[in-house]
Amino acid sequence: MSLDVQHLVVAYRTLRGDVRAVDDVSFSVADGEIMGLAGESGCGKSTLGNSLVRLDGRMRVLAGRVLLDGTELPLSDWDAMDEFRFKKISLVPQYSMSALNPTRRIGKMISEVVRSRKIRYKDVLPELERRLRLVGLPTDVLAKYPIELSGGMNQRVVMVLTTLLDPSLLVADEVTSALDVSTQRAVGELLVELRDLGIVTSTIMITHDLSILVQVADSVMVMYAGKVVERAPTATIVDAPRHPYTKLLIASLPEVGVRYAEHVLTGIPGHPPSLLDPPTGCRFADRCPFASAECAVEPPLVELESGHLVACWKAS
């Protein structure tokens, strides 16, 4: 069991009270698994991903614990987490362009990063060069500035750097979102390759784009308003979703092959509830076409079949 998250609650402190962006979330990611984390903006998926790597100043872990390879992560302790960051857990941020220091040559910047972990650049250089060739980059990129590379190349440099120390867990936050389709494909395939080569043990890929998860992920977890609503193998999520939110989300996706003239898709009316004062019961109830009286009580996340968990009264 690579990653095990138990009843995690992460909140943002605001003047009007705590916003519980991740509210009692439990899941586990197996060794070698790429888990997709999907949902609308504001559903808590990035907060969940970030809380595993670095809590920013406004975030607080209110409850729950996270085990990585059997060791509990000291999420709230910034200094203690330094032992895990980059070595055990790595994050690939969304905008690689802004993740690289524009005033440093790439090699120099990488040497500064590894030195901060008390590792000599000379020791990792052969492996670094091997990894760069692996992702199809010439090793002379180390002598270049980020501005001299294209967006896709920068994205790959960042991915080589973050996975340099063979992390157990890689959190890829919207890595394909702002990219063109051809670069999107290259980055998606690279994530799978890093896993296949055993460089990264487990991956959490955060995205709002379900169709890219079909290509990359083994399983998908769908979040809504801070809660997990459905968790299943990727094929099950796409072909046989059980939660109304997942169903509606998939039904609203335009795909190549679907045309307005032939088939008009529909969105989901309404918007997610405010997490400052979340509704009691099922949080999707006021947008759900199937909602009834029993939805006033919060549905538990139950396992319908092996590996397929759903939080909905109507699913069972």
Partner: protein, 315 residues
């Protein structure tokens, strides 16, 4: 009817503006009323530059844009104002289109002052409400609110409603739904598609092939400022001829099937062969990048389907 004829745009670049960056080269197509034309290209392909030239936000370097037979570049004063009555744009980021310290109604008030000075308050209100209802908004939900109180989808609809208040014939929609949530973007897309029934011509600029395919009658595929394939959407997507179009279609993530292995293409393999680069600055004195590739000829492969000629024969 809006016509683009051999439209080119180059920006000044390099040190002290000594070089030229060719952003758009020799692009010709037209936007017919009652149809959606999608302009599809990756970043740096010049698709937004074309939209901005149509809206007169950028001057044209060479070539012409004609609207109902009149050269758009020559318009001045009252004639330009009349042009904007008929041609309007909606852009990617709805949040930055509003001034956060004013209520959202201000975009309508400014329009009223400019274009509907003679209209009575009552008639204006009727017109405004009709326009808001046409985009599926309840006037009491949105009027009198500040931008931060509304969702991205609502703000984007307000901008479309603003354009509809004028007697527009052409709407330039530049990546209008990229910033919206998956659950609401499709509603805005349906709204744009529904404008066809009102006889509007829509130029739908996007990098997302599935959106372009969903909504449009005509498709133009652009790369590095050059049209590579254009024609009826069903033909371009159903029977792609150019290797770039094929590569794009093979890279689109689909819901019910996996990426197929890419055809091993000449030169380096994989999508990177086409990785969009910023158009190189051709410097006046020291030419690093060499002369830009020549603009390929468009060949008609079937009725209403043009493909750029590739060396080694079309696909």
């Amino acid at each position: 009817m809006l016509n683009l004829e051999k439209l080119s745009k180059s920006f000044r670049g390099g040190s002290f503006g000594s070089g030229a960056i060719p952003a758009v080269r020799q692009v010709s197509f037209s936007i017919a009323p009652g149809e959606v034309t999608s302009l599809i290209g990756e970043s740096g392909s010049g698709k937004s530059t074309i939209g901005k030239m149509i809206l007169r936000l950028l001057p044209v370097t060479s070539g012409t844009i004609t609207f109902d037979g009149v050269d758009v570049a020559s318009l001045k004063g009252a004639a330009l104002k009349e042009y904007y009555r008929k041609v309007q744009g909606v852009f990617q980021d709805p949040f930055s289109c509003y001034n956060p310290v004013f209520r959202v109604d201000r975009i309508f008030t400014m329009l009223e002052r400019e274009y509907f000075g003679g209209l009575g308050a009552r008639e204006w209100s009727v017109k405004l409400h009709a326009s808001l209802e046409a985009v599926g908004l309840n006037p009491t939900d949105v009027l009198g609110k500040f931008a931060h109180e509304l969702s991205g989808g609502q703000l984007q609809r307000l901008l479309v409603a603003r354009a509809l208040l004028l007697d527009i014939e052409i709407l330039v929609a530049d990546e209008v739904i990229s910033m919206l949530d998956a659950s609401t973007r499709i509603d805005v897309l349906n709204l744009l598609a529904g404008l066809k029934a009102r006889g509007l011509g829509v130029l739908f600029i996007t990098h997302d092939l599935s959106l372009g395919h969903y909504i449009s009658e005509h498709t133009v595929i652009l790369r590095r400022g050059v049209v590579l394939e254009m024609g009826e959407t069903a033909k371009v997507f159903g029977n792609p001829q150019h290797s770039y179009t094929k590569m794009l279609l093979a890279s689109v993530p689909r819901l019910h099937s996996h990426w197929e292995p890419l055809e091993p293409a000449a030169g380096s393999a994989g999508p990177d062969r086409f990785e969009p680069r910023r158009p190189a600055v051709a410097r006046a004195r020291r030419t690093h990048a060499g002369p830009p590739e020549p603009v390929p000829l468009l060949v008609e492969v079937e009725q209403g389907h043009l493909v750029a000629f590739e060396q080694g024969g079309p696909g």
